[in-house]
Amino acid sequence: MFYVLMSFLGGEKCGIEITEYIRAKTRGRVSLGPGTLYTILAKFESEKMIEETEVVGRKRTYKLTQKGKDAYYAELDRLRQCIADAEEV
């Protein structure tokens, strides 16, 4: 979910662009299937973290909302804190 939010930081994206972004970003470590992606996008959309901007043929494009950005940075802080905690050990 974190990577999906991250993918929108660079701008609007459609489904295939999101999966490609995540695969490239994680060097193939994380691969997102369309079923999984749809579940995540549907959840984000219902929680108003993303919104649909354009539908061209079969291609649907989404963008991050302010709430989505806030959620992303909150999660980023949480992860940073986790790493900091781990490094203290």
């Binding site: 489904g15 997102l32 299937g33 369309p34 079923g35 996008l41 079969r58």
Partner: protein, 392 residues
Amino acid sequence: MGNIKNKWFPFEWFDIENAQSWFEDCEKKGLKLKDRFGRIIGFEKTEPRECRYRIDVIGGRGEYGPDTSVTDLYAECGWEYVLTLMNTYHVYRCYDPEVPELHTDPVLQAKSMKKMHIKNMIFEIVEVLFVIVFLGMLISEFMSSEIPLRETIETGSVRFFSLVTMLLLLLPVGIIQMHIRSSIYHRLKRGEKLKSKKRYIGAAVTSTLSLLLLITLLLTYWISGFVTIANSSSHMLANYKGELDVICLEHIEYGETRRLSEMEPDDFKCGNFMKTDSDVLAPEMLILYEYGEDMYLHIEYYKMRYRSLASRMAHELMFPKDYHDITAPFEMITVEGADEAYLSEEYTVGNEIRRELIIRCGSRVVSVIHSGDAELIDWADEYAAMLLNAKD
């Protein structure tokens, strides 16, 4: 048409793993999934190919398949929508092995199946309740029957055993279904991915056999129900020594004739059982009754193969029947030679007081209605003679 091959879908609809593997194996044999009609799956004959088939529940229920928002996204990512099973299970395929799996996160997949899982749980509870109600009906049928249990089992053995077998079959089938459904959901929830099955013959045979057996038992139960009612009624009639109209009323209630079952006993003016000469016709099949101002001839048949015989008998009974207004003291009526005579109590039609005489010789019946003017005694002998002639 020659390019299409139809196959029976041999699994439970929710048995996703086996169904996916089956579609993939069919594709390897050159059968490309095309469409379906009920449990008949249509395949197009093509070149054998490696292909991944996946069944998904995302996209809601609908006659026309999942939402376009889902199919669009899936298509964009390389998964082609094929068809929907039972309005719930959407089948997708992908020929490119490089394309990621449809679902890469089992936990999220389980989340998408949660609604369906709850729905199935409710269905299973209803199924159990259904079995309990059925069992209750069976017990109450035996408890409330005036016929001893042993005889009920003897006369209705097919129905009894089909019922018991059905109940005994429904429970394990329900448990197996519940296990398969829950197993898929809980494995996903634990983070385990769905497996590709190499052997699914067992699941296919079990599912198909249980379905066929269930249909056979339901049919047996339905058909044997008619036989049992006829047998029980014969038993009742054979042992009956009292008034005919009472039997008739009981019989009608037993036969669940809707129109008559709405009648109160007081409404029932006159009734008679017609024993026929033919052994083929069950004695309880024909009932003559009068209600209100109109005379009806009511034919009941409980064995479907007797339908034509029943209508023929109705025809025979209708034509020799005559109605006359006559007056006479009923005690003086003679019906010598007739097989049976029945005299009703007085009843009122409008301002008129009526009584009825029914005389039967063999399958011939005459009903004489008295309304206070003519000599019934003269007519009675005449009718008896007429009936005897007709019988000869």
